[in-house]
Symmetry: C2
Amino acid sequence: MSMPQKKKRGELIVLSGPSGVGKSTVIAELLSSRRDIHFSVSFTTRQPRTGEADGVNYNFVSREEFERMIAADELLEYAEYVGNYYGTSLKVIREQLDQGVDVLLDIEVQGAAKVRERCPEAVLIFLIPPSIEELSRRLHRRNTDEEEVIQRRLEKARQECRECVRYDYLVVNDAVVSAAGEIQSILQAEQSRTQKRLHLAESIIGQD
Amino acid sequence: MSMPQKKKRGELIVLSGPSGVGKSTVIAELLSSRRDIHFSVSFTTRQPRTGEADGVNYNFVSREEFERMIAADELLEYAEYVGNYYGTSLKVIREQLDQGVDVLLDIEVQGAAKVRERCPEAVLIFLIPPSIEELSRRLHRRNTDEEEVIQRRLEKARQECRECVRYDYLVVNDAVVSAAGEIQSILQAEQSRTQKRLHLAESIIGQD
């Protein structure tokens, strides 16, 4: 066994789910009760939607700037999705985790697979809709996309749900508060994992 | 992927921890808020302590009867501990799990290892004291054992804590309510494990 850890390392939490499942709402609910979690703001080349702010929802950058970050290996993961780049800054995440801060990433399935490769200890959570009909209703209600785009997103959603087997947990977003509560239980339980608490047992074995 | 499960199978939960850690109190607290959990009453050959009732704390049986059960392969696990047998009835557990009932076992480390072999999907939780001094205080306060027995239990406790690496989770019993709450979060999180929810994703992929 290793020596007792002086400082707890932060937990890297990955949340994925098909477009329209309600990830942003669940994240907002979660962060309102777990203010100690740092939400990692992704970089993207897509256009801001109405109400989205730079540095809050995303760091909006040009395609040129994004490709520079790829070349400089500044990204933990990145992926292209419906014609746009999305990515996560490695530097920011690493600093937070080292300081013991839990970091939440909102990324899609390709990105999550890359995080799993680089950080096997990350906790991967997949948010699924109660049904594909409900997902369709939510996408139409959002009223930001053309019908063709919605249909593409629904097909993409089905594909993404096939990838959920790579995740540690599946949470159904039936009601926002209970989905966020379920994620809280997951994070609490992950804190109790034996591998993360060996130092406690060691301190007992070592005492006289 | 397999077909959608028609009926949820019960969760087999194993709770271990050194003598005096406060397992019974934590279990009572847990069961008061999770009345759907069935607590499996073990069989033992040890003498009842003051206040213990047959069929409630343990099924108290003779050494002859216990050895008959071993020979008839009626036990999921059994072990000898400080000169007495302790064991779990396989038949009762199996019926409960098949009916979708969660079953909680209070067994020691040898027994837990046997459960892990036979039921790899069981959730193994180890309850540890905040320190060995606190455990010593609790054993003395209980006032049921001779000093020599207490010293033997403390040495045994150190040995058992070395075995905690075989468990999925470590919960510190610092305060009963928070320890029971932590176990509740673990059980909630286990419900969200992808392997146990694949049927939900399948129903989404399968829909048109």
